[in-house]
């Protein structure tokens, strides 16, 4: 152990191992499966108890702000999923009818998805409009 090189390598390994362990703990805590609504439906019972990120389009007119917690429905390829937002964060401005949303949370036994976190992106209808009018 008198060689400083050995000491340095051992020290490094200890540091890296400690960080790897911390990383692993954080990973277990925050990992989430990223799927679309139809993939979610295909999972059936296996979805229970897992943290999931489910992606889909917010169904037009489904956002019910009168309810507390707020409820809405997302859909993808003919399948839909009812979502309850139980998170504390401010909803993103991009979250509205028709936007592409990713909801993170778990499924309850009565089939409602409880989301702690919501990401949303505007569906770019203008881009679609341009494309239909002609290609740039």
């Amino acid at each position: 152990m008198s060689n400083p090189r050995v000491k340095f390598v051992v020290g490094s390994l200890v540091i890296v191992a400690a960080l790897a362990w911390l990383g692993f703990v954080g990973f277990q805590e925050s990992k989430a499966y990223y799927i679309t609504v139809d993939e979610f439906r295909a999972m059936q019972g296996r979805a229970q108890g897992k943290t999931l990120k489910v992606a889909g389009d917010v169904v037009e007119g489904s956002i019910d702000r009168a309810k507390s917690p707020l409820e809405f429905v997302i859909g993808h390829q003919g399948q839909t999923l009812k979502v309850q937002y139980i998170g504390k964060e401010v909803l993103p401005d991009t979250f509205k009818d028709g936007s592409k949303a990713v909801v993170e949370g778990t499924i309850t036994l009565d089939g409602v998805f409880q989301a702690k976190h919501i990401e949303a992106k505007c569906a770019s209808k203008y881009e679609a409009e341009y494309e239909s009018k002609g290609k740039s």
Binding site: L19, G26, K31, V102
Partner: protein
Amino acid sequence: MSEFGNFCLLLAFCLGLYALLASVLGAVQKQHRIVRSAERAALAACGSIALALSSLVYLLVTSDFSVSHVASASNRALPVYYKIAALWGAHDGSLLLWVFVTSIFSGIVIYQNRFRYRDMMPYVVAVLMVNLSFFLCLNLFLSNPFNQLVQANADGTLQKFIPQDGRGLNPLLQYWAMVIHPPILYLGFIGFVVPFAFAFAALVTKQLGDSWIRTIRRWTLVPWMFLGAGLILGGKWAYVEMGWGGYWGWDPVENASLMPWLTGTAFLHSVIVQERKGMLKVWNVFLIMITYLLGVFGTFITRSGVINSVHAFADSSLGPFFLYYMSAVFFVSMYLIIDRLPYLKSERPLDSVLSRESAFLFNNLVLLVACFAVFWGTMFPVLSEWVQGQKMTVGPPFFNNVNIPIGLFLLFLTGVGPLFAWRKTSVESLKKAFFWPVIFSVPFCAALMIAGMRDFYAVVSFTLCVFVLITVVREFYKGASVRAKNTGESFLSAIVNLTLKNKRRYGGYIVHVAIVVIFVGLTGNAFNKEVQQKLSKGESMHIGRYMLRMVDYREADTPNYQLAEVKLEAYKDGKLIRTMTPEKRLYKAGDQQTTTEVELYSTPKEDLYVVFSGVANGGKGYEIHAFVNPLVFWVWFGAAIMVFGTLVTLLPDRKGAFVTPQLSFSEAAGIGETLRIK
């Protein structure tokens, strides 16, 4: 005008390719004139790109919607300065800005060194031109801002299509920090191409002493400073514009700009070891290559649509090209490094773990681990899909778990590194060096605990902040008091002169102070509070020492957007401090996006951050989301100090200061430092 812009781009591309070929040819055949012509062609390419950029700005300002970029990123009602900023509001135009910034850097390097480093320069030019041509090629053929909109007629012929109005600049980008943050970030991302080019040239010409490293010292600090400033401006933008109460969310694009900053920081430290001790030569070449590649990778993440992010552009098809380019750069550089290994031998072994060298090594180690963790977490959705066929993501807990301890360890090293001597530190001298910092920080730590602070990381962080601050203050104090005694200057002017005499060292200390200040701000996160409540007129809510009373609600109309705002009276300890009017805006152009306008009451102690999230209960209640974020101010303030410290380091030397070998003041004073300028 769009044809002219397109022509300029094409011309620049041809000139760039010519410069690339000619510089290599000239170097191989040792034909000085060919190299000269290559350099001139490269400069001409830069000029041509500037013209292309100007013509796009002209098209934007005159709202020529026949051009696709203008139609998709601007609209008539936009104020002129945002019309110009719309240049980087969509990815094709921002790529042109990117190319323009690259060309400025390349141009300056080539012009500055036209009489110097004649062996290396042809290869430097070649690398710069490979980089420039690659991006120009994307800009010309795959993502061209000068494309015209066309419409297909019923009979299949094409006809020009000019929309009535453009889609408008994304309203989230209509904010000052956002307007300047992309160009500043680009300066950082791209700037690392210069040190990389010199490293590459040094490998090719086998001139692997530390001359290339000294050449690029400034060229590394400049992009590093811009990248750091860009990162924090991006945070400022997210804080004010996104309305979720924070400034950093481990978003893929944020991560992408953090990664080259981490490796760049590692490089800035490890070059010192090479200059002083002739160690870590392979490591330094490798680090600068990685830093450059991570800069390109950052561009790739924002443009490829591989990963979802709030900062990213909508999908574009550039992804695969970036991958080819990055792999090519990686493999060619790795081949060269391996081939030149005999020239990269370390001149000296590591003498002791308790030494300055080893502090630098640990600094590099954890910076790289941090970079790797960030990379892994960012790319995990893609990697897991490859490996398992199942897309998975990781969230902030992962990033925080790894990076908070790393950050604190780095902060610790910032404090102890300068206390260690090169080669070997005796326990005796360590005791002496640690005495004052410990005398101040230990009671401070105890005071925090007694005051009831229980968050482990927060206590450690504040304690370390005091520790590091004392070590830096002591360095200045020791140097300045010796200088004041020897020269008879006043203490204050001794501090200034000391810093100016040894800008690199004391400028570096100023940056260390900045890091401490930023850490104070970051640690404030441990004490954030938030309250969400529905208020009717006349009702009030409490958060911390503040009370918010709902007074009024109104809706209004402007040419650019419609707005709804609530008027709240904010009280602190029962005293009215100000009226706050957080807004919701609905932008008229394009996608009719809504945005949140945050109201901030910012003091050095804490920010009161108020968001109006919408009308609830059918118009009877108004939903208010309030945050109290302690110490955020210090993050921005620390960033300003960081830029200042870097600028001090960058100050030009007085004439002759570099030529004569001289002893630094601290060494003359017997502080045990050998800061000889070679």
